[in-house]
Symmetry: C2
Subunit: 276 residues, 2 copies
């Protein structure tokens, strides 16, 4: 089986792909949409992409592509703790670090550690944590990177400090998606999206449907509707609790009451937060 | 008056700051939070920051800082059309461009133009459109950048093509914020945020309040609650239509029924979409 994922190699998404797709061939792609389109076009059987980070929120690139561009379904969700590492060439001492490279999201995630130990270091943003670590492997001593432990291994570098993110509540949800239509409500969660007409109370009327059936909506996020300024698509998660028939009926009602509606699948959650 | 804004110079935010703050001294800051903190600490009187883009959605850095880190109020909202320009050294021809530098958001916004005219160009991401244009001014012929017209002027470069974004529905909302508490509901819009308890129907119960008072919620976005994984803060806009008393009463009810609530002010909207 071929599995597309958001590359490059040495990122947290590659770690997620390896956990979700044990033993399969994993192929890195440049962007969320290229990885998902590879499945849509049949170049790959499944894709693994980040969906939401506990600090940054929903990953817009993944959400927009699933909502607007492809017809794929979520097969499984993995919650992975994000443990950022300070990585440099072997023999580097923390007090000699003058430049730190990383992804724009990773730097603020580690701000407390940086301010405490390397307050004067220049902070440079790169397109991914793995690209930052690759550049560290080519740079002079004094340059460090922030990224995943697996990137240090990949480039033969040392981990100077582990788990340097500000909070242990930093984790990312990754999705495994494919063309398989899994719309039987027998697993833990359903993700769907819909948009409402632009009139007062439109969202309220949709949420009323869940209230009628006593269904818990565990997440709601909104994205701009493509080419319709100031209109939104709502992306929601519903908890399935032995209430398949209620969920089915509620979704039927939403399909009738919304101007756009798409079911992204019913799936189980694998929570790796307590694993080392 | 001193006005902090998200720099560097030569970005769309600087353009917004100049429109909103005609004649004031504008000071660029490195990040959303530094610009807003400058006002919080009294180093600047006002700040101008991007709040939402019609394609990318809410600007998380601005939203999170206003929700969690500062006590500032929105004084005015400016809607500015984003007209991306292809910028290079004078005399450069489009067919000779081999590298294009820009911000990670600007490149997909111009994908159709790039694929049509420069399909083989290498795409390089920089930390801002202005930084990309600065690098173009130092690079060899054959390198171009995508950014704001004002950046071309700043670095003495030529605009090879104007308005190269995929859609004319690309615009950004910028906020002018200060410490001035403007909670009288006599202007166009109110922005507020709240979080709900994690129980079924909690959001529905809050939206019920707007339904009772017939108040239109023109926007809703959600952000992760800081340090509370899987809990959300909702950021909403309410339309004020000669119903100040209703808005006041509704907000009082929300304050009582939510676990966290913050009013970000009542303000007017300046829409520059039709101006050249």
């Amino acid at each position: 089986m071929k599995v597309a994922y958001l590359g490059p190699r040495g990122t947290f998404t590659e770690m997620a792909a390896k956990i979700l797709e044990k033993g399969s061939e994993t192929i890195p792609y440049h962007s969320f949409s290229e990885a998902l389109m590879a499945v849509e076009k049949g170049e790959a059987d499944e894709a693994v992409v980040p969906f939401e980070n506990s600090i940054e929120g929903v990953v817009n690139g993944t959400a927009d592509c699933l909502i607007f561009d492809v017809n794929l379904y979520i097969q499984e969700l993995l919650i992975l703790p994000i443990r950022q590492c300070l990585i440099a060439k072997e023999g580097t001492k923390m007090e000699n670090i003058t430049r730190i490279l990383s992804h724009p999201h990773a730097i603020p995630q580690c701000r407390e550690f940086i301010e405490k130990y390397m307050p004067h270091a220049e902070l440079v943003t790169e397109s991914s944590t793995a690209e930052a670590i690759r550049k560290v492997s080519e740079a002079e001593y004094g340059t460090a990177g922030i990224g995943a432990e697996c990137a240090a291994e990949m480039y033969g570098l040392s981990v100077l400090a582990e788990g340097i993110q500000n909070t242990d509540n930093n984790f990312t949800q990754f999705l495994r998606v494919s063309k398989k239509k899994n719309l039987e409500y027998v697993r833990e969660k359903v993700t769907m999206c819909f948009s409402t007409t632009d009139e007062p109370g439109a969202l309220y009327k949709i949420l009323d449907i869940f209230s009628i059936f006593d269904i818990n909506m565990s997440k709601i996020a909104s994205r701009p509707m493509r080419n319709k300024p100031m209109e939104y698509v709502f992306l929601i998660d519903l908890d399935v609790n032995n209430n398949s028939k209620d969920i089915e009926d509620a979704i039927k009602l939403i399909e009738r009451k919304s101007s756009f509606c798409k079911n992204l699948g019913c799936y189980d959650v694998r929570d790796n937060r307590l694993q080392k």
